[in-house]
């Protein structure tokens, strides 16, 4: 046990004296992720607020065919503009978001009580940017149509309610926290990847790197058990990953409340209690990652070989996130036992401020720790190999 502590302390001191590693892993990494996230979210919020509240600018082609409609739009506060000659081209070249085209036959159809045609020309592939504007335009036209329809019925002595047999109303029961979950669906990936591969440098440097620097052989000639030496290195790698993770979460706790998400009906509740719970969720992943990276470093013949394996590991935590993106499913208990998927679901639950039962905590943490223990045992076996110390 003393050997484990000795190796752990030495590896941490050694790493912390490597200024470049510390700067990239503990300063840039933990700050860059949350800052990027916060920046993106702020931009999304301000764009949405802007689009929803700004005076609607609406280019109209063929305004002369429906002067009443245009006048009504102006009364609703719409800034009606002249449309360019070639509407389709302007939309395709993204010069305009939306154009209202009034058909030449509008007036004739109108007078004949036939549905009169107006077209909302837009580019649906740009729904992210233009969706709010288009929805506003459609809602206005529908409102105008409904008003005129009611007036026509009243003029004919018919109650307007006759033509609307069903009233549809929506009741959105999502909480502001849950709505923010949609925006934060990429947060788990960033955190899981950070916890999983935060140990990369220390784990690889302390096994594959130590062998290449020719100091592993003397180390293994000491009476300290190989499993103890390996465990010390693994613990140092995991500690480093957890320090980086704690800094990342601290940056999130500090920066996220500064974002004006309440303006779009969302609430990001990532205070200290949620951050601490996320940290707990990710401890098994950090141990698993450190064990897996140690295993790989002990298996690989060189530092370079170990590096090429770890680039594949980058994809591993992505798989559940990708699957969920394509096929979003409701969380079931067994999912919490699947590595990465379980952590993903737990973090999303925390983001959505859902309550998590003791059983769920037990499954998520237990399965992760069991997995880490299995990989640790495998790494200990590999560490006993004769070839371990001998560099090619």
């Amino acid at each position: 046990m003393r050997a484990v502590l000795t190796v752990w302390a030495k590896e941490l001191i050694d790493t912390f004296r490597d200024r470049r590693t510390v700067l990239t892993s503990l300063l840039m990494g933990p700050l860059l992720g949350p800052l990027l996230l916060a920046g993106m979210l702020s931009m999304m919020v301000s764009q949405q607020v802007d689009r929803a509240e700004r005076r609607l600018e609406l280019p109209v082609a063929g305004a002369e065919h429906a002067p009443n409609l245009v006048a009504w739009l102006k009364r609703q506060g719409v800034d009606v503009k002249d449309a360019p000659a070639d509407v389709d081209r302007a939309i395709r070249r993204q010069e305009l978001d939306v154009v209202l085209v009034i058909a030449p036959a509008f007036a004739d159809d109108w007078r004949a009580n036939r549905p009169a045609l107006v077209e909302v020309v837009h580019d649906a592939s740009r729904a992210q940017q233009t969706g709010v504007t288009i929805a506003r335009v459609k809602a206005l036209i529908a409102q105008y149509g409904a008003e005129i329809g009611s007036m026509r019925l009243v003029a004919r002595g018919v109650h307007p309610g006759v033509s609307s047999p069903i009233a549809v109303a929506e009741r959105d029961l999502s909480t502001p926290e849950a709505r923010s979950g949609m925006m934060l669906s990429f947060l788990p990936y960033i955190l899981i990847l950070g916890a999983f591969l935060g140990a990369m440098h220390v784990a690889m440097d302390s096994t594959a790197g130590e062998r290449e620097r020719q100091s592993l052989e003397p180390l293994l000639a000491t009476p300290a058990a190989r499993a103890a030496i390996m465990s010390g290195k693994l613990a140092a790698a995991a500690s480093f990953a957890l320090i980086a993770l704690a800094l990342t979460l601290a940056a999130i706790v500090v920066t996220f409340p500064l974002m004006p998400t309440d303006k779009i009906g969302m609430k990001i509740d990532l205070g200290l209690p949620a951050a601490l719970r996320m940290f707990a969720v990710l401890v098994p992943i950090a141990l698993f990652g450190a064990a897996l990276l140690t295993l790989i470093s002990a298996y690989a013949k060189s530092y370079k070989e170990a590096q090429s394996y770890t680039s594949l590991l980058l994809l591993l935590p992505m798989i559940p996130t990708m699957v969920l993106l394509v096929n979003p499913v409701k969380t079931e208990a067994w999912m919490l036992a699947v590595p990465f998927l379980g952590q993903n679901q737990m973090i999303m639950k925390l983001v959505r401020a859902e309550t998590i039962g003791a059983l769920e905590w037990g499954i998520a943490l237990g399965a992760g720790l069991a997995l880490a223990a299995i990989v640790w045992a495998l790494a200990a076996r590999l560490y006993r190999r004769e070839q371990l110390a001998i560099s090619a």
Partner: protein, 247 residues
């Protein structure tokens, strides 16, 4: 005291099985310097690696102060100070921290580590470098640090694999004096070398290894007498059958 009996070790390679060590037996006594002499690739390093328990022999027995290495490798390692062929030190730690790390892994108390480190620093004349980080150390300074690290736990038996490799003349001379001092303290010193003069100048007993076997064993005089050659170099060449790989 180190005793090696009929040691065998083979490695499988792509081109077939290589018998790196093929029946090596020798004894290294306390208060003596024993030299393991042989050309490059003779199996010296592999034999030493089995001796300090990094590798397990396919066949044969090793005893360190009477302890069977196969049965109790940890107890054997406690009695061994090892300078392997690979002697990397941690460049972000100071010389003293490098030494203390190994002291702790040997289970020593901090006060004992400090006392031993001071003794080794003065014996190896490294007062100036002791508290510097080892990044940028010369080859000689690195070797001294590695030797001090290997001897921090005051072992009765000292194994050095080609200790003078890459050292300049002055450092080599200082290292020889240090090995003599270890002998005077009654320790058992075993070192390997492919440099004849070094072995001749230093060793009480010479074990000549070629192609994984011991081809001659004895004091310098005994070797000269056995081969009928006047110079040790000729005796050596005769013993191994060729001058290949010699300096």
């Amino acid at each position: 005291m180190l005793e090696v009996e009929n040691l065998h070790k083979a490695f499988r390679t792509k081109t077939g099985t290589v018998r790196a060590v093929d029946g090596v037996s020798f004894r290294a006594a306390d208060g003596e310097i024993t030299g393991l002499l042989g050309p490059n690739g003779a199996g010296k390093t592999t034999a030493l690696r089995m001796l300090y328990t990094l590798m397990a022999p396919d066949q044969g027995a090793i005893r360190v102060d009477g302890i069977d290495v196969a049965k109790d490798p940890t107890a054997a390692r406690r009695r061994l100070g090892v300078l392997p062929d690979a002697r990397g030190i941690y460049k972000r730690l100071t010389c003293r921290e490098n030494i203390a790390y190994f002291g702790r892994l040997h289970g020593m108390a901090e006060a004992e580590i400090a006392r031993r480190t001071d003794a080794l620093v003065s014996a190896l004349d490294m007062g100036e470098i002791a508290d510097r980080r080892t990044e940028g150390f010369s080859q000689g300074q690195r070797t001294k640090t590695a030797i001090a690290r290997a001897l921090v736990h005051d072992p009765r038996n000292v194994i050095l694999d080609e200790p003078t490799n890459g050292l300049d003349v002055m450092t080599t001379r200082a290292l020889r004096e240090f090995l003599k001092r270890l002998r005077a303290e009654g320790r058992c010193v075993l070192f390997s070398s492919h440099v004849m003069q070094e072995v001749a100048a230093l060793c009480d007993r010479i074990v000549i290894i070629a192609h994984g076997r011991v081809v001659a064993n004895g004091s310098a005089e005994e070797l000269r007498a056995a081969t009928g050659e006047a110079s040790l170099e000729d005796a050596f060449v005769k013993a191994i059958g060729s001058a290949e790989g010699l300096h």
